[in-house]
């Protein structure tokens, strides 16, 4: 790269000329208090709620509280350099983040600045981070499925594009893995994914980014992260920044999947800054508007009507519970805001049922309409089967003699649980899910040993891919189950050649 000195001097000359007449006029205030990520300033009589302010040292702040004599400001960055008596300047702008195609594949902070070391993001478009959600007439009902690639979710708690489905569970129950798998499964689905990590350890986020890269998912994903070492205001703002980036795509008729991992940490960060701003504490010391904090965020997920391009934004918020307590303040709030929840249970997780989805407590309030017909027909009775199995299971532990019908139910139940197990980062296509669930509900698995089921599944998929690919093609193209005779014939053919393992045969 050669630098031409004439060019530079010409540029400087040009800029010097334009600066000669400029006089900066700014409304200023005086900082009267700084600490813990917030500042108070006297003056700034005309400041607006949510307006960006600039401190002496170039750090930005956002107006949070307007009071009779001063304003409460959250500092978006390093507050060490700010002193009492410093001036703070109004900028007249509200907070915005860069948006657009250029963001895809990047890892950015809550302000939309790149932190992946891949250089500057070249986009001129910005959107305000706080934006009113689409209104009633701008929406339409959810009718397209969002396939997560996880059997237990797609069959039992189907998610539609534009839905808000909560993922809730204790620590270490695989909440993030479910979300990451859902992102991995969006490959070639014309979806854009946004993963917002709020207060997640930087090492964990790095591992997630590596996983996404490994499976080629970074080609359609934006990662927004506000780590635990960042000041609380950035943790509070990160989900809104992610939502603004998603809205840009939604407004352009694209489909977006956004994951907020997790909103409990955002609520904690918001509680911290609210308490320091001296807002009155309410239940669990959260401020009074903590419900609104989440409802206005999740309301931004929508399925737009066809006139507006038919874009959608599906939100998968994550909430961490303490010892399975879903009646704590934040979990109940978010459960009531979302269109259903996926409940992850630590007991099943440790007993090896992974993903540890609790079929009884998990619901999806709108996704059923979006499920494809083929899946609906095979998954219809699954929930009831599982529920009656759970009931019988505890009953049969007394060891009394069981009649044949009960035995059969128990057998089917064990196999259902086994089929719904799925290793991490290996999403299944919807046609494959339909096929294995069909085999299960029609009793093809009843004769297979429980230990053999995973092997049965992979070999069956290979078999159908090689000899009966037309069955899969029919499901994909018509969304309906192919002629049952054909399917039965194929499964019978496979059952003949399937070899049980020696250990299982005993």
């Amino acid at each position: 790269m050669s630098i031409k000195s004439e060019e530079i001097s010409a540029l400087i000359k040009q800029q010097l000329e334009s600066y000669q007449t400029e006089l900066s006029v700014a409304e200023t205030g005086t900082v009267t208090y700084v600490g813990d990520g917030i500042a108070r300033a006297h003056g700034l009589d005309n400041a607006l709620q949510g307006e960006l302010l600039e401190f002496n040292n170039g750090v930005y702040g956002m107006v949070q509280n307007l009071e009779s004599n001063d304003v409460g400001i959250v500092v978006l960055g390093d507050f060490d350099g700010i002193r009492e008596g410093d001036t703070v300047k109004r900028t007249g702008r509200i907070m915005e983040v860069p948006v657009g195609e250029a963001m895809i594949g990047r890892v950015v902070n809550a302000l939309g600045q790149p932190i992946d070391g891949l250089g500057e993001i070249k986009t001129t478009n910005t959107r305000p981070i706080e934006h009113k959600a689409p209104g009633i007439m701008e929406r339409q009902s959810v009718d397209e499925p969002l396939q997560t690639g996880i059997k237990a979710i797609d069959a039992l708690v189907p998610i539609g594009r534009g839905q808000r489905e909560l993922i809730i569970g204790d620590r270490k129950t695989g909440k993030t893995s479910v979300a990451i798998d859902a992102i991995l499964n969006q490959k070639d689905q014309d979806m854009i994914c946004i993963y917002v990590a709020i207060g997640q350890k930087d090492s964990t986020v790095r591992a997630q980014v590596e996983a996404l890269k490994k499976f080629g998912a970074m080609d359609y994903t934006i990662v927004v992260t506000a780590g635990p070492s960042e000041p609380a205001p950035l943790l509070y703002l990160a989900p809104y920044a992610g939502a603004a980036m998603g809205e840009e795509f939604m407004a352009n008729g694209k489909h977006v999947l956004i994951i907020y991992d997790d909103l409990s940490k955002q609520a904690t960060a918001y509680r911290e800054l609210s308490l320091i701003l001296r807002r009155p504490p309410g239940r669990e010391a959260y401020p009074g508007d903590v419900f609104y904090l989440h409802s206005r965020l999740l309301e931004r997920a929508a399925k737009l009507n066809d006139k507006l391009g038919g874009g959608s934004m599906t939100a998968l918020p994550i909430i961490e519970t303490q010892a399975g307590d879903i009646s704590a303040y934040i979990p109940t709030n978010v459960i009531s805001i979302t269109d259903g929840q996926i409940f992850l249970d630590s007991d099943s997780f440790y007993s090896g049922v992974r993903p540890a989805i609790d079929a009884g407590a998990s619901v999806s309030r709108v996704g059923g309409d979006a499920q494809i017909k083929a899946m609906k027909s095979v998954a219809g009775t699954l929930r009831l089967d599982l529920a009656s199995y759970r009931e019988l299971e505890s009953f049969s532990q007394f060891g009394s003699d069981l009649d044949a019908a009960t035995q059969a139910k128990l057998n089917r139940g064990q196999r259902t649980v086994e089929v719904l197990k799925q290793p991490v980062h290996s999403p299944l296509k919807v046609e494959e899910q339909v096929m294995i669930l069909y085999a299960l509900t029609k009793g093809y698995l009843d004769k297979v040993a429980v230990d053999d089921i995973a092997r049965y599944q992979t070999e069956m998929f290979d078999f159908i891919h090689s000899s009966h690919q037309d069955l899969f093609d029919t499901i994909v193209s018509t969304k309906k189950l192919p002629d049952t005779d054909q399917v039965n014939a194929a499964l019978d053919e496979f059952a003949k050649q399937f070899q049980p393992t020696a250990a299982a045969a005993k």
């Binding site: 540029l11 600066y19 006089l23 006029v25 700014a26 003056g43 004599n69 001036t87």
Partner: protein
């Protein structure tokens, strides 16, 4: 919840100023109040002593009398009332707020001028005149400050507004513009 200094100062100064305007004595009030304020600024413990419980009521009343003796009737009442209501600590703020009201009424603007070198009288006068024209005030009272860090030009601060025409700021803007390109 106890009221803060600014709220108290606003309320008392409003009442006092309205009284002064009614009696048409605003200027006399202000001169007297300014002297009073000087006394309190020169003796920082005075407000504390009068508001605290270190002295007996009689002793405090005696101290108060030395203040009120030379004062005009209204100011005397004002001081006595502040003392009775336990607002001696807010006295300076009240007088500041009173001055602010007086300035607003008379269209006097206070401005702080920062320059790299000391301004000559003519220069200061020219700045005051230009500034008065800009903000639409009758009179501008300048406080001068010298800060070599701004390199050249002037910065005028007044009423929560900053008019920055310093060389330092322009260099900073230039630096930012060059980095962004």
């Amino acid at each position: 919840m106890s009221l803060d200094n600014l709220t108290i100062a606003n309320r008392y100064s409003k009442a006092l100023f309205e009284l002064a305007a009614e009696k048409d004595q605003t200027e006399a009030f202000l001169t007297e109040l300014k002297q009073l304020r000087q006394v309190f600024i020169d003796n920082p413990q005075l407000a504390e002593v009068l508001a605290g419980s270190l002295l007996t009521v009689d002793q405090k009343q005696t101290t108060l009398r030395t203040l009120t003796d030379q004062a005009s009737e209204y100011i005397k009442n004002f001081i006595q009332m502040l003392y009775d209501y336990g607002r001696m600590r807010n006295l300076v703020a009240i007088i500041d707020a009173f001055e602010q009201r007086y300035d607003d009424a008379q269209q006097i603007v206070h401005a702080e001028v920062t320059s790299a070198v000391k301004l000559s009288d003519e220069q200061a006068k020219a700045i005051a005149a230009a500034f008065a024209k800009r903000v639409g005030a009758k009179q501008v009272q300048l406080t001068q400050k010298v800060d070599p860090e701004i390199i050249g030009g002037v910065i005028v601060k007044s009423n929560n507004q900053t008019f920055d025409g310093s060389v330092a700021l322009q260099l900073m803007n230039l630096k930012r513009a060059l980095i962004n390109n």
